[in-house]
């Protein structure tokens, strides 16, 4: 346990002073926060327009009660979450690869493994460091984007909204750490860490971009810009009635999407934040009932990546020469 903490502490200190890591995290933070700020500005404008419209209506003596527009503050996070999903996971791969590559390329493994280390403490120290790094980065990012919603968007967040944000942050920590651990395992398993990086990038490409893209392409509603059903002026009830005739096709499409851990992250994330219409303004119990299976798959993916990293990061596997 002592060596695990020592290894983890060294890793955190080393990473915190690594310019490339700092640059990547800063870039991620800027794009995420910027996207939220843009959405927040739009939200603020729409709210102000509605307020001034109401005031004008009242001043003209109009008796019509204008309904407020559908403005849900957490939906402003959509673009930011997509950046985390794609760019964040890519950076997580690079970070995970770096955790092993620097030891293999610099030759520090020989100094480490002539010390009395327990079999899995080297990998466990790296895993713990990756988890702590992504927890810190995600917590800081969510704190900033929540502040952006409140200040720049002037958004009225409720207590439930804060809980939804915390759950979304939890999913993000698991998702990003998972990618770092997968890259770590591949860099440890391959003799040359660069080969591991290439394999991790191929895996990332397939899971994050290719599979979700296949699912999106198969979605009937995505065949026309703006949506097939919307362009045909078919409402939701009728859309569901139409789609009921294509359950086999939809099941296949759903299974393809579910093969991607990115979708297992995105579905609960978008549900908790109300980005997905069917979960917007629904109770936490409703959201949980509809998405817990995705959360469990995400956790299973995390456990598998952690186990792979733990098994791959042993003395005998790491000391094989390139």
């Amino acid at each position: 346990m002592t060596s695990l903490i020592t290894l983890c502490g060294k890793e955190l200190r080393d990473l915190s002073r690594n310019r490339s890591v700092r640059l990547l995290i800063l870039f991620l933070a800027v794009v995420v926060v910027l996207s939220v700020l843009v959405a927040a500005a739009d939200f603020r404008t729409k709210t102000a327009d509605y307020t001034s419209y109401l005031a004008a209506l009242k001043a003209s003596g109009g008796a019509v009660n204008a309904p407020p527009p559908d403005l849900f503050p957490l939906q402003m996070l959509r673009a930011g979450m997509e950046y985390l999903e794609i760019v964040g996971s890519l950076f997580a791969v690079i970070l995970g690869y770096g955790l092993i590559a620097k030891e293999k390329n610099n030759g520090t493994l020989e100094l480490l493994f002539t010390r009395p280390l327990a079999r899995h403490s080297f990998a466990a120290g790296k895993i713990l460091a990756a988890l702590i790094i992504w927890t810190a980065v995600t917590a800081a990012l969510f704190a900033v984007i929540t502040a952006a919603l409140l200040i720049a968007g002037n958004a009225p967040l409720t207590g439930t909204d804060f809980i939804r944000l915390i759950i979304a942050a939890g999913h993000t920590i698991i998702y990003l750490t998972l990618w770092s651990l997968a890259a770590l395992a591949l860099a440890a398993l391959t003799r040359a860490p660069a080969t591991g990086l290439v394999l991790a990038l191929v895996l990332w490409l397939v899971v994050v971009l290719v599979i979700p893209q296949i699912g999106d392409t198969m979605d009937p509603d995505n065949q026309i810009p703006g949506g097939l059903f919307a362009s045909l002026q078919i409402d939701k009830a009728h859309e569901h009635a139409v789609m009921a005739n294509f359950t086999g096709y939809e099941t296949s499409r759903d299974l393809i999407e579910q093969a991607s851990l990115t979708k297992q992250y995105e579905r609960p994330l978008f549900a908790w934040l109300g980005i997905k219409d069917q979960y917007n303004q629904q109770s936490p119990a409703f959201v949980w009932a509809g998405t817990f299976n995705h959360t469990l798959w995400l956790l299973a993916g995390f456990a598998a990546a952690a186990a792979a990293a733990l098994l791959a990061g042993t003395r005998d596997k790491l000391l094989r020469k390139a």
Binding site: S3, R13, N18, G107, L111, P116
Partner: protein
């Protein structure tokens, strides 16, 4: 407790069909500075890697300070210090942070005191707060020896310790090795092919050729046994030439 710091019996290592080390039987008494000589590819680094538990042997046995490298690997690791040929540290950390890290991994109870003592032993005080990225090769070698002796090991393994050093660096390192051996009583096992250095530093030598130990004796006895040879280098070449490959 055995008087031998290092004992190997029929130690062998094969990589596929290539025999890197063949039936190596070697005894190095405590308190020696032992130099393992041999041309490139003779099996010196393979021997050190097996003795430091970095590489499993294909057959045979090896004991360091009485502990078997296979069945008592962790006890061996507590008994040895190791300086690889090209020593690397974590460049984003300072020397003290690097040494603290390795001291903690070795279970040193008071890292700060031991780091001060180790830096003093290698005459390298005053550099503790400098980042490793600013260190020259000679400075890294001294820092490397400091990390190797943090836990006061019984046996110190040095793989080509003078490789790439300038003459001043070589002389300083020699002085440090002899001092560690004499003042702390450490047994030193070094791989080298710089024979002039061996004469000045080592008390005994072994010669490896194509994975086989073809000679072992004290330096003094070796020099006395070949009066017609001018130097250890000539003796080495003479012994090597007499060995069928």
């Amino acid at each position: 407790m055995t008087d031998m710091a290092i004992e190997t019996s029929a130690l062998a290592k094969t990589y596929g069909s290539k025999q890197a080390l063949e039936a190596l039987s070697l005894e190095v008494p405590r308190g020696e500075i032992f130099g393992l000589l041999g041309h490139n590819g003779a099996g010196k680094t393979t021997t050190v890697n097996i003795l430091t538990t970095l590489l499993p042997a294909s057959s045979g046995t090896a004991r360091i300070a009485g502990h078997d490298v296979t069945t008592g690997a962790d006890r061996v690791r507590r008994s040895i210090g190791y300086l690889p040929e090209n020593v690397h540290f974590y460049d984003n950390l300072t020397l003290t942070e690097n040494l603290t890290f390795f001291a903690r991994l070795s279970g040193v109870p008071d890292p700060a005191a031991r780091i001060a003592a180790a830096l003093e032993a290698v005459d390298f005080t005053g550099h503790g707060q400098e980042k490793m990225s600013s260190f020259s090769k000679g400075m890294r070698q001294r820092a490397g020896i400091a990390q190797a002796i943090l836990h006061e090991p019984a046996v110190l393994f040095l793989d080509e310790p003078t490789s790439g050093l300038d003459p001043q660096g070589v002389a300083k390192l020699r002085e440090i090795i002899i001092s560690l051996n004499q003042s702390l009583g450490m047994t030193v096992f070094m791989n080298t092919h710089l024979l002039a250095e061996v004469t000045k530093t080592c008390t005994s030598i072994g010669i490896l050729s194509s994975g086989r130990l073809i000679y072992q004796n004290s330096v003094a006895a070796t020099l006395g046994a070949f009066p017609d040879q001018a130097s250890l280098e000539d003796i080495y070449l003479h012994i090597e030439a007499g060995t069928p490959s």
